[in-house]
């Protein structure tokens, strides 16, 4: 067991996990209550605009997770560290979960706002490509049966796939798009301060929720690695 595994063990032993899950629960519930009952309605879109406070934080969390995969993959290719590989696989799984939420909440909002669940808009298409790339990453890991060559191939894919993230960010600037740019609009546009605060709270809550999911998934990945190593050492003997 590495010091990191001992740290994970003490995380569970001290029941810190239950405290963290409870805090994440309170955070997300608090954010949702604020979104539904204490944030003004959008003048044009009404109630449906409230999905924005979940859609955007999920998108930001997705980018954070995939940036983590990108960094961990680079470290893995340089050091062949098992911890870096576990980090990358765990972050990719949690990232795909949040990316799926983005792709679900987006069309729900798009139907009343644009009149269609889906259009092949630049931002929508590049986000769908991102999701497909990371689902492919997870499939590659599964199909390569966690072999060393499979891990290397997955790390390369994890790095290349991340190049789509800046393209998503810039897609509304580089090309014409119907997707709104709420946070980088021209002066005089953008969010009402109260809506901005709600967005901040929601982002904080979702980042914390993401952290909890990541810790749980990473702990599971470490447990799997430890069992595999112990089994291999027993077979050698």
């Amino acid at each position: 067991m590495t010091p990191l595994d001992r740290l994970i063990e003490s995380y569970y032993k001290t029941k810190l996990n239950i405290m963290m899950v409870s805090l994440a629960f309170l955070g997300v519930m608090g954010a949702l209550i604020r979104i539904f009952w204490f944030t003004p309605l959008d003048a044009y879109q009404g109630m449906v605009q409230k999905i924005f406070y979940i859609h955007l934080p999920c998108a930001i969390v997705t980018f954070v997770a995939f940036f983590g995969v990108f960094l961990a993959s680079i470290i893995f290719l340089k050091t062949r560290s098992g911890i870096a590989d576990d980090l990358a696989s765990s972050l990719a799984e949690v990232g795909v979960f949040f990316c799926s939420l983005v792709l679900i909440t987006g069309p729900i909002w798009a139907k009343p706002a644009w009149g269609a669940y889906w259009t092949w808009d630049n931002r929508l298409t590049t986000t769908l490509i991102l999701w497909v790339l990371y689902v492919g990453y997870l499939l590659l890991r599964q199909l390569s049966l966690e072999s060393e060559r499979g891990k290397i191939a997955a790390a390369i894919l994890g790095i290349i796939a991340f190049l789509d993230v800046p393209i998503i960010k810039m897609s509304v600037t580089w090309w014409r798009s119907i997707h709104p740019t709420v946070l980088s609009g021209t002066p005089g546009t953008g969010l009402d301060p109260s809506m901005g605060r709600t967005l901040g709270i929601s982002l904080g809550a979702f980042l914390f929720f993401f952290t909890i999911l990541f810790i749980e998934r990473f702990a599971l990945a470490r447990a799997g690695t430890l069992i595999k190593r112990a089994r291999m050492s027993m077979e050698v003997l």
Binding site: M29, A219, A230, L237
Partner: protein, 52 residues
């Protein structure tokens, strides 16, 4: 709309209950893992040429 918001809160609440149970199971796994790793280490040291 109010009912929809409450249903949505309940959905998230249910998800967190599930997450809490999952986390508790992960805790159990790590507790058992410690026992397993110690057992394996013991066996490995017994079976090694120095241990025999």
């Amino acid at each position: 709309m109010e009912y929809l918001a409450i249903a949505y809160l309940i959905l998230w609440g249910t998800l967190f209950v599930y997450l809490g149970r999952l986390s508790a199971k992960n805790g159990e796994l790590f507790k058992n893992l410690r026992i397993l790793v110690e057992y394996w280490d013991e066996q490995a040291s017994k079976d090694s040429p120095q241990g025999r």
